[in-house]
């Protein structure tokens, strides 16, 4: 069976090369048959990679432990969903998953545009297939998932496998990697269209229009992946953090930051034909950062809690990145004339300049994260000594940047496109500023002294007010004209311009998430060793050990747990059971924390181990407002989905004709 899988991947590699060459040569020599055959090859590649992936999944499900990959990532006792997740649980499988997603995207893009973009499509296919060829090289020759562990040794049954890393056997981990990968791989599509447009010097913004939804969906997948990863770290790793600035976490954040910058700056190009070079740079950076992220995750070049094996795969990525970036830079430099802006910035006090600021700040954040992530590699290269920068560095740099971005989120909607006079700005800023400052004053009066927290909450109030005002003003204008009630008018308003108002909803979600992040300023923690019957106090909570249990779960893992009575100000709240697990097949210990989630704060108890006698060691935490992060993300998700809804049909604008070109007068034509 594995032979079929390996053959399918090898054939896919050949057909991907053919698709690349067929499309491009077909276009250059004007041979429609060759172009068509190149397009067909894209579907063939998808079919073959699907066969390869199908064989791997079948082998995992059947427990064919002769295959090294199956033996490393699954075992008999694993539930079926984790067996399926084993597809992307290890190096070779996850690279095959990358390939499969890219093949699927390529096939969908080719099918969707089979009757469009005669000039551009062969090159779009060419770019996508170049990436595909690279990953298929890895799948076929470097990290094959079909390598036999006992080839030629006459062994037919290895009994059982090691199993998936127990830390990854958690529900968010089943979804988190596919989400991130859907995001990573998805950016290949806008990148390919951008390059296709650049190669063929397409006039207009067709590539942006075509890939608008792709970009948004891709960005959403990345966001989902990052937040699911945070939720997993919070609930599983036992230290209560949701973000540790680990290199692999950073790797997922980098393309998200540039992708976010792209989503904003692309509006300038659509609206005014500005920032064309910048958008090309951003979409290319995002794509290459996605590849770079995969490289960081898979090469083991930097130390990470995501303990993936160190492997020689890194050099292939370095070559791919070097060639890809050089080709992109060359294309950009040779086509700068074609990317000239059609308009200029008219005033510093305009929406355009707020977008530019937003882009610069996002870029600064991206650079700081990249610098911090690569610092160990850079120091090792120049000083022969690995020096890592830690969480405090990232926090010190990125918290002010994030707060400034939050401020811009509030300022943007208040400023009109093109220009805003100082007077109208004064009017627009009055209420949001009053509410923002009042929030800070009230919180100070209540005893809050943490500077960043005060700024953050004030900005949250400021941004919320600006967005609420936007909705209220717009809906009132519609309600006054149509006689609808305010809620119906708000829906109508959103439906008329889903991207703008959906975007505002995304900003509301970000504000809610910021409230959650700010809660970290007030975390409390305590590590204690307690005997049965003893208790400890953490803030208003009393944590009392009332029992201890141990057992085994269906031959998969052994567990022991502490029974804890949790009360607040003397009032009993609940019985909590923090647990330790020891996975038998992989001989790996994990923890299953007790987590009492509430809107105001989470109580988090981790059973860390046993001390002298029968004492238990427990790490106890209070994490204020963490739930707001997850709720905020749901709002972000909803807002993004709103952005994806097509706008309500526009009112017909009167047809115009030029009267005096010299002074630029236009008048409605006779209809």
């Amino acid at each position: 069976m594995e032979n079929i899988g390996a053959l399918a991947i090898l054939l896919a590699f050949c057909f991907a090369i053919y698709a690349l060459l067929g499309s491009v040569i077909g276009k250059l020599t004007q041979r429609p048959f060759l172009i068509q055959s190149g397009q067909r090859a894209v579907y063939t590649v998808w079919l073959l990679v699907t066969v390869g992936a199908g064989v791997l999944i079948y082998s995992i499900m059947q427990g064919d432990y002769r295959l090294a990959y199956v033996w490393e990532t699954s075992n008999k006792t694993m539930p079926i969903q984790y067996k399926f997740a084993a597809w992307w649980g290890g190096q070779a499988g996850s690279l095959l998953f990358w390939s499969w997603l890219l093949a699927t995207y390529s096939a969908v893009v080719t099918f969707q545009n089979r009757r469009k973009f005669r000039e551009m499509m062969p090159y779009v296919i060419g770019v996508m297939m170049s990436v595909q060829v690279f990953f298929l090289i890895l799948n076929a020759f470097v990290a094959s998932p079909f390598r036999l562990l006992v080839a030629g040794k006459g062994v037919v049954d290895l009994g059982d496998g090691q199993g998936l890393n127990p830390l990854l056997q958690y529900w968010t981990m089943v979804i988190h990697p596919p989400m991130l990968y859907l995001g990573y791989v998805g950016f290949a599509v806008p990148f390919a269209f951008a390059m296709g447009s650049l190669i063929t010097k397409q006039p207009g913004e067709e590539w942006i229009k075509t890939t608008r939804r792709w970009t948004l969906v891709t960005w959403l997948f990345q966001s989902c992946g990052i937040v699911l990863g945070s939720a997993w770290a919070y609930a599983v790793l036992g230290w209560g953090g949701y973000w540790a600035w680990d290199p692999v976490e950073n790797a997922s954040l980098l393309p998200w930051i540039t992708g976010t910058a792209f989503l904003h700056s692309v509006m300038m190009q659509e609206k005014k034909g500005m920032m064309k070079v910048w958008n090309m740079v951003l979409v290319s950076s995002t794509f290459f950062l996605c590849i770079f992220g995969t490289f960081l995750t898979r090469s083991g070049i930097v130390q990470s809690v995501h303990a993936f094996a160190s492997s020689p795969i890194g050099q292939y990525f370095v070559w791919f990145l070097a060639i890809g970036i050089s080709a992109t830079v060359y294309l950009l430099l040779t086509r700068l004339e074609f990317l000239k802006s059609e308009a200029q910035l008219e005033s510093v006090l305009s929406r355009e300049s707020s977008f530019m600021f937003n882009n610069l700040v996002l870029l600064a954040s991206c650079f700081s994260v990249l610098w911090g992530t690569l610092f160990p590699v850079i120091t090792e290269f120049f000083m022969n000594e690995k020096i890592s920068v830690d969480k405090p560095f990232f926090d010190r740099v990125n918290i002010p940047i994030a707060l400034f971005l939050l401020l811009l989120t509030g300022i943007g909607p208040l400023i009109a496109w093109r220009r805003s006079s100082f007077d109208s700005l004064k009017r627009a800023f009055r209420w949001p500023t009053i509410l923002g400052v009042s929030t800070a004053v009230v919180l100070m009066a209540l005893g809050m002294r943490h500077v960043y927290a005060l700024i953050s909450f004030a900005l949250c109030a400021f941004v919320t007010t600006t967005i609420a005002t936007e909705f209220w003003k717009g809906a009132s204008a519609i309600a006054a004209k149509s006689g609808q009630n305010l809620i119906a008018a708000m829906i109508e308003l959103t439906h008329r311009n889903t991207r703008r108002y959906g975007g505002y909803l995304v900003h509301v979600g970000i504000v809610i998430m910021f409230i959650g992040y700010t809660g970290a300023a007030f975390n409390q923690s305590k590590t204690v060793e307690l005997a049965q019957g003893e208790s400890t106090q953490l803030g208003p909570y009393t944590i009392k050990v009332v029992g201890y249990e141990e057992g085994e779960e269906s031959n998969q893992y052994r567990w022991d747990r502490v029974i804890v009575d949790l009360s607040k100000n003397g009032e009993h709240l609940s019985i909590e059971k923090p647990e330790r697990r020891f996975f038998i097949a992989s001989q790996t210990p994990t923890t299953d924390v007790a987590l009492r989630r509430r809107l105001n704060e989470d109580v988090y108890i981790n059973f860390a181990g046993t001390g002298a006698g029968n004492n238990v060691v427990m790490q106890t935490y209070i994490f204020p407002l963490v739930s707001w992060i997850w709720i905020g993300f749901l709002v972000v998700l909803f807002g993004t989905l709103v952005c994806l809804v097509p706008d309500k049909k526009k009112l017909v604008f009167p047809r115009m004709e030029v009267v005096e070109t010299g002074v630029g007068h236009v008048k409605p034509a006779k209809v």
Binding site: T44, G204, A343
Partner: protein, 130 residues
């Protein structure tokens, strides 16, 4: 044996699918007007004008800002329309060939409903189609 047969079948199938292409398999690509990008630009400016009007109505812009921005957009629009006129006049044959190739769909001038065959009266609103 089964594995070998499957491997051969996989190769034959994929090669046949990729390389056996008939004339009819090549999709007709919709012609693109040479002024397409200008039409897009024009639509974007109309959109900007609509936006501007709405923002003015909700009180986000002063009278002066509104007038200035409107004038700027109209100038831009005039430039785009003039460029479209220039392109159409310099390459009339090409434009006609590329744009007017699409079959004419009978459309009601009153309500805009489209019909597969020409009709005297609109099946939707009842008004005369001619």
């Amino acid at each position: 044996m089964v594995i070998l047969a499957s491997a051969v079948a996989l190769i034959v199938l994929t090669v046949a699918f990729t390389f056996l292409i008939r004339d009819t398999d090549i999709p007709a690509v919709a012609p693109v007007s040479p002024t397409h990008h200008l039409e897009e630009r024009r639509a974007a400016i109309y959109e900007n004008l609509r936006d501007l009007q709405f923002e003015y109505r909700v009180g986000k812009l002063s009278d002066d800002d509104y007038q200035q921005t409107k004038l700027g957009l109209q100038k831009e629009l005039a430039g785009v329309l003039a460029e479209m006129d220039r392109m159409k006049s310099t390459a009339p044959a090409r434009v006609a060939q590329d744009v007017v190739e699409e079959p004419v769909v009978p459309t009601c001038p009153n309500c805009g409903s489209k019909f597969p065959a020409s009709m005297k009266f609109c099946g939707e609103c009842g008004k005369a189609m001619a």
